[in-house]
């Protein structure tokens, strides 16, 4: 087992990783930017190293300073958390060449899943259902293009090979819009990612976002855990995650879980990862992408399985084996997570940095809050606006929703605007309560200010 782990991240996930290490008897090294000097992860770690000024490019993305911090502190492994360097193959490669274990899958696995067109091809070969689409990238002047789009069937969506976060994406409803959409997506992708390659895919209306947490060891054993549904998104950013999905039956769960396992096996995946699917209303599902890291919403799965996924990840990265033996892990209840951001939902979710004058977390039973904030903490302007993940578990979905409403009502964060009121509104929305929310829920029902005309 590792003796000392450097956590190349900040915020709640850095705190989460430090807690796991402490319980495992592993020493921790926090790295931090200058404005994060009095952050909770720095307070909780055994050691800390300042790695740069506020901007992430000069601190949390500063590979030389992070590797050097690992070297001077004598760390034998680096946990990248999520975001920042978590899916950066170059970073994984540098770690390896410096004999520091990167806590995650092999750089080859990251690479194969990082290129969406290549991932799609890998999945097709592994027998994982993929959304009908072009094999590889397309160009606007290909004469076969209209025939291909017709074969896929409108509506189709144009996506950037190097894309993410909605950039370089265009939905096309009919043939006359096809060529302009491809050209616009190409130039947008070129500007955003330096790579203008785009591909075509069938566009699913009202799909659910369903993902499977997988856990894999070096001996090739891969276990899948109960699904998470993350259909409540705003501009492709997840806002709410839950497990199990209200739409899932056990036969579909088994089918999707096995497909997720095949996806992981196809890239010799090790440690923890997530295979994301879209599920349509007829229970057809399609591979979306694989996240080769611990995810924000791993907590939801921890609540319903009782597993500690960060400890699992560390154990597996250290070469230990999976010692439990079932897929279809029994569910302890129904869990829901809300991501509480320092954003102003009444002003188009603009970030709301500032100093927290009061913080009172909601309490038990059945409530979990993963957070790095505390009274007096200053939310810096440089990083994402996640303040806290509020997770509840109930015996069933209805109880979980009631508990979430109770917890949202108790949560006090003064000094910045937060998305707390938005979640209060979602929890009492009929469509959400019925489990009938699709990925268009936020755009369709929550476009007004959360404390708008109704009251």
């Amino acid at each position: 087992m590792f003796k000392k782990i450097l956590i190349a991240n900040r915020g709640e996930i850095a705190v989460r990783i430090i807690r796991a290490c402490r319980e495992m008897g592993i020493k921790t090294v926090a790295v931090h930017s200058e404005p994060d000097r009095s952050s909770r992860h720095v307070q909780l770690a055994d050691e800390s190293v300042c790695i740069g000024p506020g901007p992430a490019t000069e601190s949390y993305l500063n590979i030389p300073n992070i590797i050097s911090a690992a070297e001077i502190s004598g760390s034998d492994a680096i946990h990248p958390g999520y975001g920042f360097l978590a899916e950066n193959t170059y970073f994984a490669d540098v770690c390896e060449s410096c004999h520091i274990r990167f806590i995650g899958p092999s750089k080859e696995a990251i690479e194969k899943m990082g290129d969406k067109a290549a991932a799609r091809e890998t999945m097709r070969k592994a027998g994982v259902p993929i959304i009908p689409g072009s094999d590889g990238c397309v160009s606007a002047d290909d004469p076969e293009l209209p025939k291909l789009a017709k074969k896929i069937g409108y509506p189709v969506i144009v996506k950037a090979v190097a894309g993410g976060g909605g950039k370089g994406m265009r939905v096309v409803l009919s043939e006359e819009a096809l060529v302009p959409a491809i050209q616009m997506a190409q130039s947008e992708a070129k500007a955003a990612f330096g790579n203008g390659d785009v591909y075509l895919e069938k566009y699913l209306e009202q799909p659910r976002h369903i993902e499977f947490q997988i856990v894999a060891d070096h001996k090739g054993r891969v276990v899948y855990l109960p699904e998470r549904e993350c259909s409540i998104q705003r501009r492709h950013q997840k806002l709410i995650e839950e497990s199990p999905s209200p739409a899932m039956d056990s036969s579909t769960r088994r089918k999707m879980g096995k497909a997720a396992r095949r996806a992981a096996e196809a890239v010799d995946y090790v440690t923890v990862g997530t295979v994301e699917f879209l599920l349509d209303r007829k229970n057809n599902f399609y591979f979306l992408e694989m996240n080769t890291r611990i995810q924000v919403e791993h907590t939801v799965t921890e609540m319903v399985t009782g597993l500690d996924l960060v400890k699992e990840q560390i154990r597996l990265a250290a070469g230990e084996r999976i010692d439990y033996d079932r897929d279809d892990y029994p569910l302890l209840g129904h869990a829901i997570e809300c991501r509480i951001n320092a954003e102003d939902p009444e002003h188009d979710f603009r970030p709301s940095p500032g100093t927290l004058t009061q913080v009172i977390l909601p309490g038990p039973p059945g409530v979990r809050v993963d957070t790095h904030i505390y009274p007096g903490y200053t939310v810096p302007t440089y990083y994402d606006s996640l303040l806290a993940k509020l997770i509840v578990i109930g015996d069933n979905r209805e109880q979980a929703i009631r508990r979430m409403q109770r917890a949202l009502g108790e949560f006090v964060i003064d000094g910045v605007k937060t998305t707390l009121p938005l979640f209060g509104k979602i929890m009492q929305h009929e469509v959400f309560r019925k489990g009938e929310a699709y990925t268009d829920f936020i755009a369709k029902y929550m476009s007004g200010p959360p404390n708008g005309t109704e009251k």
Partner: protein, 144 residues
Amino acid sequence: MIKKRLSELLEFAQATDLEEVVWEKDDSSIHFRRTAVPSKLTPSGSPAPPARESDNAEPAPPLYIRSTMVGTFYRSDSADRPPFVVEGTVVASGQPVAAIEAMKIMKDVLASAPCKIMKALVANGHSVEYGQPLFEIAHEPENV
């Protein structure tokens, strides 16, 4: 106008390990290159506020050369060489005052302004973090 931009860019670059900066806007451009990583010259406290002239009777905060890197600190560039500077050494802008090793590569720490070394704050071979004071210094205004 250009001078203001240039000094802004330079200030930014000095806080990083950038060796080359190109700035273009409309029909004007600025391009500069530096040979090594100079250190920031800042008063104590974090985040470092800009140095300011003492305009009243309060004693001026101490000035430091700070590390812009994470690594192992060396007073000289090899074990058999004397230290770059000792207490009392007066250095010119751009003159090496120490070296930091990171990922097996040694980089010189350069003074970013003329100054006098008052005190070495880190022992040879110790590790340093970003922003850590390495030397306490005094301005050498006559040389500016």
